[in-house]
């Protein structure tokens, strides 16, 4: 059932990102909405619950995007590993740290993207544009990332409560 919740949330995020957000120029340089979700998974969910979702949505995003296939998958896996590593010495319960964790995640994603483009498209003159885009995305992440994390956590709690009620009704 947790998988259903994760898949539902991710599908909503993908649809929102690819169909709704392009209509608003404000979000032209918004970060990948699945990044905070991957961070949420690594912060609050177990490895068993996270890995299948990350693999599935990495594959899905790679199919939708024009980038080299496997780029999103790579990014999400590294993001997941990176955050799992960070939380070994940082206390995640401290909400003060959340903006910086999301920003670090988005920065890592941008670094992987820039590195990939630089490797596969040598000679491309995009450094200034890349720095500007990465900066804007990181700023967006600092201010909006924690909201997403809290929303995911809150909705998951609600989902679990709702499921408990449903099962209790079915059993009684």
């Amino acid at each position: 059932m947790t998988y259903c919740f994760h898949v539902g949330i991710c599908l909503c995020l993908v649809l929102f990102q690819t169909t709704v957000m392009p209509y608003f120029h404000l979000f032209d340089r918004f970060y990948d909405l699945l990044s905070p979700f991957v961070i949420y998974l690594s912060l609050f969910q177990s490895l068993r619950q996270s890995i299948p979702v990350i693999l599935f949505f990495g594959f899905l995003m790679d199919s939708l995007s024009g980038g080299p296939f496997g780029l999103y998958l790579t990014t999400y896996i590294w993001l997941f590993i990176g955050v799992k590593w960070i939380i070994t010495f940082l206390h995640v319960g401290d909400s003060f740290l959340l903006p910086f964790i999301v920003a670090a995640g988005v920065l890592l994603q941008n670094c992987i993207f820039i590195g990939t483009i630089a490797i596969f498209e040598p000679g491309t003159q995009f450094l200034s544009a890349a720095i500007s885009m990465a900066t804007v995305q990181v700023l967006w992440a600092i201010f909006t990332g924690p909201i997403f994390l809290m929303f995911f956590n809150y909705s998951h709690g609600k989902w679990n409560k709702w499921l408990e009620k449903v099962f209790a009704k079915v059993n009684s």
Binding site: T18, G66, G67, E121, M133
Partner: protein, 269 residues
């Protein structure tokens, strides 16, 4: 007999009194004043109460009805506005589709109209998804165009949908010509929704504002389709090529419908 006379007399006196009272107006200080003073306050109170109730009825209960009518009118107005917007959208859509249709007549190859359904999830790459796929005879590598100019190339095809790589993507390349002097080069995707016109020889006279069209030599895009206009030229002191930047004619932010060229005949070299 006496009784009859008495009644007659009484009637006569009554008639006389009535006729007298009819001719003389009673003054304000007459006996009626007392009765008026006694009764009028009650009359006033009752009348006021009636008016009060009537006003409440008229201004409250009636207004409830008016408010309901107002709500209904608002709903009708919103519905009308919605229909009006729909008509405006249909009108704009009609203009765009007419433009596509007119453009379609100018292309000799078989084309199919497609609708843009989504954009690339990453701002680093420039692709769109269209609602036509294998079932509509769309194949990998075919050109996607607009009346304004070239849009891109189909890179992936599924049964009902296709992914289109836009010419502003860094992985895209189109063989192009400067329209006025036929200077040749490769139009590559650049940054900030612009393209780079690469490998244009230094000796060619290219100026800002010149139109760049497809050469047709890449075997993907039909010859002579507009791509964009030259927006910057840098002639370095050394080297055999000049740096030319091109701004595409197509506004990729506002893409809604496109034409997919299905059976473009490739040039034989």
């Amino acid at each position: 007999m006496v009784m009859i006379v008495g009644v007659i007399v009484l009637i006569a006196v009554n008639i006389i009194l009535l006729s007298v009272s009819n001719r003389r107006y009673l003054s304000y200080y007459g006996p009626g004043r007392i009765a008026i003073s006694l009764v009028a306050p009650f009359q006033e109170a009752v009348s006021s109460s009636i008016r009060f109730v009537r006003d409440i009825w008229g201004h409250y209960f009636f207004l409830v009805k008016a408010a309901q009518e107002n709500d209904n009118f608002k709903k009708a107005l919103n519905h009308a506005v919605e229909i009006n917007n729909l008509h405006k959208e249909l009108k704009l859509s009609n203009v765009r589709l007419r433009s596509l249709l007119n453009f379609r007549k100018t292309i000799k190859d078989k084309v199919i109209a497609a609708e843009v359904i989504s954009k690339d999830p990453s701002p680093w790459f420039k692709t769109i998804m269209i609602d036509k796929g294998k079932d509509d005879s769309v194949k990998k590598g075919v050109a996607v165009v607009m009346p304004e100019g070239i849009v891109g190339q189909v890179t992936e095809v599924s049964t009902h949908y296709s992914k289109v790589l836009l010419i502003i993507d860094q992985n895209s390349a189109v063989d192009g010509l400067v329209q006025k002097n036929r200077a040749r080069g490769i139009i590559k995707g650049g940054s900030a929704d612009r393209c780079l016109f690469k490998y244009v020889l230094r000796k060619n006279d290219v100026a800002v504002g010149d139109t760049v069209v497809s050469s047709g030599l890449d075997g993907v895009f039909p010859k002579g389709l507009p791509v964009g206009h030259v927006s910057g030229v840098i002639k370095p002191n050394s080297g055999i090529f000049q740096e030319v930047s091109v701004t595409p004619y197509v506004d990729f932010e506002k893409l809604e419908e496109v034409l997919v060229v299905l059976n473009h005949k490739k040039h034989k070299f």
